[in-house]
C-alpha cells in the first residue's frame, strides 16, 4: 500500500508538471490543447534520441526539451490556436485533435510504432526507503517536477510577466483595455505551457517507455488533473496530478493495471457534474 | 386583485459582491412599469432572476397566483413570463418566421392555431414581409422587433423589455414604442421596461421603480419620481442618454 502510494506520488509529480502546462493554456487563453499529450511525447522522444544516438543520459535533455517543445508549441499557437483564443469552441477542439493526430502519425512514421524504452544507468538504480523501493529516476523526475512547478508558481506571483498573465487569465478584455499586450502574453504563456510538457516528457522517459500513441494516454490525465485541481489554478493542477498518480497506482495494485484509470474517469465525471470549478478553482473562472 | 408579477425580497451576490440586496416590487395586470437606475444597479441581474436563468440567494417570484421561484426559465416562458435581452439573441440559423414559430410552438396561444398566431404577431410588429429572412440580413431595428415578436407570441402576460431602444434612430424608436403600446393595449400584456433613454421611459411608463446599488430606492408615477430628491441625487442628476 505504501509502495503504491509512494510510486503514485512520484509519478504524480510528473503528471502534475505537464498538467500545470495544460491548465495554464486553458486558464489564460481558454484553449483546450488536445495535443498536449503529444507535446509530452515529443519531450520523451527528445530524451530517447539523445540517449540512443548520443549515448548521453536522457536527463540532460531537461535543458533542451522544454525549449524544443515550447518552440513547437509557439508555432502551433501562431498558426492554429491564435484565432480561437478566448472561448473554447468546437472548432478549436477539432483543430487541436487534428494537430494531435498529425503529431502522432508523424512520430509513428519517423520513430516507428513500437514502444521503446530508455535504459539509463541512472534509472536502473534503486533505493530502499523504509519498506519502499523506488528508482532514482522516479525520485529525480519528481524532484525536477516539483521544483519547476514551484518556480512557475513563483514566476506567476512575483514577476511582472506573471502578473500580466494572471490579469489576462482573469479577464482578457479588461487586461487589453488596461494596456497589456495580450497577444504577446498569450504566445509566451503557451510556449511555457508546452515547454513544461516537453520537460515532463524528458524526465518521464527515464523510466516510462515511449511510443507514438502515448500522447492519447497522457492527455486525459492532464485533463482530469486540471479539472480536479480547478480551472485557473496552477498549483491545483499539480495537486490534481498527484491525485491522478496516486489513484492510478493504488488501483493498479489493488485491482488491476488494465483499469487503473477508471476511477479517475469516474472522478472527472463527478466533478464535471457537481463541481466543475475543481478543488481550488474559482467559480467565476468560466 | 392578484398582481401580474410580484418580486419579493430578492437578494443576489457574486462571490463577495452583493448585487441585489433585497428587491421587492410588483406589476399590476396591464400596466407599463419602468425600471430605471444607474449602470451597475443590478437591473439585468434582476431580469435574469425573474426570467429564471439565475437563482437568487433569497427571495420569491410570484407570477399571477403561482410561486415560480423554483421553476426553470422555459417553464416560466411557457406560462407567459417573457423577456427580451439587452444584447439581441436571435437564432441566427433560423428564419424570422421560424424564430417566432419556435416560441409559439412552445407556448401556444389559448385560442387559434400556432400558424395564425405567428402570422398575427409578425403583422403586429410589421415583420410580415421579412418572414423568410435570416437575422443576419436584418437591420438593428428589425432584429429588435423580431426578438419582441418571439417574446410575445403565444402565451404572454408579462413582457420584460431589456433596453430595447438603444441604438435606434428616433423614427425607429417611435415605431417600437407604438408597437409596445399596442401590445399592452390590445393584448393586455403587462410591460416591465428597463431603459436608459429617459424621455421614452417617462412617456411610456405609468409607474417607475428606481434601483440603486441593488435596492429599490423609490417607486411611483414618473412625475413624482423626477422630483424625488433621493432619486435625483442617485441618478437623475445627469440627464439620460
Amino acid at each position: 500500500m505504501i509502495q503504491a502510494l509512494v510510486s503514485g506520488i512520484l509519478l504524480g509529480g510528473v503528471y502534475g508538471l505537464f498538467s500545470v502546462g495544460f491548465s495554464l493554456a486553458f486558464g489564460v487563453m481558454r484553449i483546450v490543447n488536445f495535443a498536449h499529450g503529444e507535446m509530452v511525447m515529443l519531450g520523451m522522444y527528445t530524451g530517447f534520441l539523445v540517449f540512443t544516438y548520443l549515448g548521453l543520459d536522457p536527463l540532460l535533455t531537461v535543458f533542451v526539451a522544454p525549449f524544443l517543445v515550447g518552440g513547437i508549441g509557439v508555432l502551433a499557437y501562431l498558426f492554429i490556436y491564435r484565432r480561437y483564443v478566448g472561448r473554447t469552441t468546437l472548432q478549436q477542439l477539432l483543430a487541436a485533435i487534428a494537430l494531435a493526430l498529425i503529431l502522432q502519425s508523424t512520430a509513428q512514421l519517423v520513430f516507428g510504432p513500437e514502444t521503446q524504452a530508455v535504459r539509463s544507468v541512472f534509472a536502473s538504480q534503486y533505493l530502499l526507503l523504509g519498506p519502499v523501493f523506488v528508482s532514482y529516476a522516479q525520485v529525480v523526475a519528481f524532484a525536477i517536477a516539483a521544483v519547476c512547478v514551484l518556480a512557475v508558481e513563483g514566476v506567476l506571483r512575483l514577476t511582472r510577466w506573471g502578473q500580466v498573465v494572471r490579469a489576462v487569465a482573469d479577464d482578457a478584455e479588461a487586461a487589453e483595455i488596461v494596456g497589456q499586450n495580450a497577444q504577446w502574453v498569450n504566445v509566451t504563456a503557451f510556449g511555457l505551457a508546452t515547454g513544461l510538457a516537453g520537460l515532463a516528457g524528458a524526465v518521464l522517459v527515464t523510466y516510462y517507455p515511449v511510443n507514438p500513441h502515448v500522447g492519447f494516454v497522457l492527455m486525459p490525465i492532464a485533463l482530469i488533473a486540471t479539472v480536479l485541481g480547478g480551472l485557473g489554478s496552477v498549483g491545483g493542477a499539480f495537486i490534481g496530478g498527484l491525485i491522478c498518480g496516486v489513484v492510478e497506482q493504488l488501483t493498479s495494485a489493488y485491482w488491476t493495471p488494465a483499469l487503473q484509470d477508471i476511477p479517475l474517469y469516474a472522478l472527472l465525471l463527478l466533478f464535471l457534474a457537481f463541481r466543475p470549478f475543481g478543488l481550488f478553482g474559482r467559480a467565476s473562472a468560466h | 386583485m392578484t398582481h401580474a408579477l410580484e418580486v419579493a425580497g430578492v437578494e443576489k451576490n457574486f462571490g463577495g459582491l452583493e448585487v441585489l440586496k433585497g428587491v421587492s416590487f410588483h406589476v399590476e395586470p396591464g400596466e407599463i412599469l419602468g425600471l430605471i437606475g444607474p449602470n451597475g444597479a443590478g437591473k439585468s441581474t434582476l431580469f435574469e432572476i425573474i426570467g429564471g436563468s439565475m437563482k437568487p440567494v433569497k427571495g420569491t417570484i410570484r407570477f399571477g397566483t403561482e410561486d415560480v421561484t423554483a421553476r426553470p426559465a422555459h417553464v416560466r416562458r411557457r406560462a407567459g413570463l417573457c423577456r427580451t435581452f439587452q444584447k439581441i439573441r436571435l437564432f441566427d440559423s433560423l428564419t424570422v418566421a421560424d424564430n417566432v414559430r419556435l416560441a409559439a410552438g412552445e407556448s401556444p396561444p389559448a385560442q387559434g392555431t400556432v400558424a395564425a398566431e405567428v402570422e398575427s404577431v409578425l403583422r403586429l410588429l410589421d415583420l410580415q414581409r421579412l418572414g423568410a429572412r435570416l437575422p443576419a440580413d436584418l437591420t438593428l431595428a428589425e432584429r429588435k422587433r423580431v426578438e419582441i415578436a418571439r417574446a410575445v407570441v403565444g402565451t404572454c402576460r408579462v413582457l420584460m423589455l431589456d433596453e430595447s431602444l438603444s441604438g435606434l434612430t428616433s423614427d425607429e424608436a417611435a415605431e417600437l414604442i407604438d408597437a409596445v403600446r399596442t401590445l399592452n393595449r390590445d393584448r393586455g400584456i403587462s410591460i416591465v421596461l428597463v431603459e436608459h433613454v429617459m424621455p421614452v421611459v417617462m412617456a411610456l411608463a405609468q409607474r417607475l421603480i428606481v434601483l440603486h446599488f441593488g435596492r429599490v430606492i423609490a417607486s411611483g408615477p414618473p412625475a413624482a419620481i423626477v422630483n424625488d430628491p433621493v432619486v435625483v441625487e442617485a441618478y437623475l442628476g445627469k440627464p439620460g442618454a
Partner: protein, 333 residues
C-alpha cells in the same frame, strides 16, 4: 465557455436544397447498381463508404444540428456492434431483431451519459464523452469472458443466411446499408424543418435564448443524443454483420470516434447532404492513402492524412464542402 458551433448551417435556398436532393438520388442509384458491374472488392468499398456515411449522418444529428460536440460517439457504435454480436452468439437472436435491442441499449446509455454531462457547459460535455469512451474501451479490453478482450469478438459464421443477416456476397449488405443511408438522409431533411429540429438548432445557436423562448434545453439535448445514439448503434450492428468481427479499438477507440466526425465536418455540418458528400470524400481519402501507403511501404499514413484534412477543413472550410457552395440564403430565399 461553451463548445458552440460558431458557424451555423444556413437555411438552404430551395434551389440548392433541390440540387442536393437530386445529387443524392443520383448517387443512390449509382450505388445500387454497383454490384451489377463491379467486382466484390469495389462493392465492399462501397459498403464501407455507406457505413461511414451512416455514422456521419448519425453524429450530425446531435453535433451538427444540435451543436453538441460528442467526441465519444464510438461508445454507441460499439454497443451496437458488440450488442448485436453477443445477442446472436450467446442467445441465438437474429441480428434483424438483435440490432433493435442493441440500439435501445445505446439509447439508454445516451440518456445516462447525457444526464451526467449535458447539464453543464458544452465543453464539459465534449470532454466528458472523451473520458467515457476511453472508459468503455478499457473495460471492453478487460472483461475478456464477455467481449473477447483485445482480440475482440467474432460472429458465428453461417454462410449465406438472410434470416440471420449473413451473406457471403457483399451486394446484399450494400443494398441494406444503402436503404439505411437513404432513410437517414430523408430523416435529416425532415428533421431540419420539424419542430424538434427547430428546437435543436435553437439550442445550438443560443441556449440561453432558447430557454427564454420556452424550450426545454436539457430535454432537447437528451432527445437529440438518444436519437443520434440509436442511429449510430444501427450502423454498428450493420458493421459487425458485414465484417463478422469487432474489437475494442475499432469499436470504442478514440480514433473511431474521430473518424465518425469526419463525414459531417468535411461535407457540411448541420446539413442533410453534408455527411453523404463528406463520407464519400473521406472514404476516397482512406482508400487512396492506404493504396499509396502500400506502394510506399509505410504504415500509419492514413492517420496523418486524416489529421491534415481535418485541420484544413477546420481552419479553412469550417462549413464543409457544401458550405463552400452555398451562400447564406438571404433576401427572398
Amino acid at each position: 465557455m461553451t463548445a458552440t458551433v460558431p458557424v451555423s448551417a444556413p437555411r438552404a435556398a430551395p434551389v440548392f436544397a433541390r440540387s442536393t436532393l437530386l445529387l443524392c438520388a443520383v448517387l443512390a442509384a449509382v450505388a445500387a447498381s454497383v454490384p451489377f458491374w463491379a467486382n466484390s472488392y469495389v462493392t465492399s468499398i462501397v459498403v464501407r463508404a455507406l457505413i461511414f456515411i451512416m455514422l456521419g449522418q448519425a453524429w450530425n444529428v446531435i453535433a451538427g444540428i444540435g451543436g453538441q460536440l460528442s467526441l465519444g460517439h464510438g461508445v454507441f457504435f460499439g454497443i451496437g456492434a458488440y450488442g448485436t454480436a453477443l445477442l446472436f452468439n450467446e442467445a441465438g437472436i437474429t441480428p434483424w431483431i438483435g440490432l433493435w435491442i442493441a440500439a435501445a441499449a445505446a439509447g439508454l446509455c445516451a440518456m445516462l451519459i447525457g444526464l451526467a454531462t449535458m447539464r453543464s457547459r458544452g465543453v464539459y460535455f465534449a470532454l466528458g464523452t472523451v473520458v467515457i469512451s476511453l472508459g468503455f474501451e478499457k473495460i471492453a479490453r478487460y472483461v475478456v469472458d464477455l467481449t473477447g478482450g483485445d482480440a475482440g469478438l467474432a460472429v458465428n459464421y453461417r454462410g449465406t443466411a438472410p434470416a440471420l443477416m449473413q451473406f457471403r456476397e457483399p451486394s446484399a449488405f450494400l443494398w441494406i446499408d444503402l436503404a439505411v443511408v437513404v432513410a437517414y438522409f430523408l430523416f435529416t431533411r425532415w428533421l431540419l424543418h420539424s419542430r424538434f429540429g427547430l428546437r435543436l438548432q435553437a439550442v445550438r445557436d443560443d441556449e440561453h435564448a432558447a430557454a427564454a423562448s420556452g424550450v426545454n434545453v436539457l430535454g432537447v439535448k437528451l432527445s437529440g443524443l438518444v436519437v443520434s445514439a440509436v442511429m449510430t448503434a444501427v450502423a454498428g450492428a450493420l458493421h459487425v454483420q458485414f465484417y463478422l468481427s469487432i474489437d475494442p479499438g475499432t469499436a470504442f477507440g478514440l480514433f473511431q470516434a474521430i473518424q465518425i466526425q469526419l463525414p459531417a465536418l468535411i461535407g457540411g455540418l448541420g446539413t442533410a447532404g453534408g455527411p453523404v458528400i463528406g463520407g464519400l470524400v473521406a472514404t476516397l481519402l482512406t482508400e487512396g492513402t492506404n493504396y499509396g501507403a502500400t506502394l510506399l511501404g509505410v504504415r500509419g499514413g492514413d492517420v496523418l492524412v486524416y489529421g491534415v484534412v481535418l485541420l484544413g477543413v477546420v481552419l479553412y472550410a469550417p462549413r464543409g464542402i457544401l458550405g463552400l457552395f452555398r451562400r447564406r440564403a438571404g433576401s427572398g430565399a
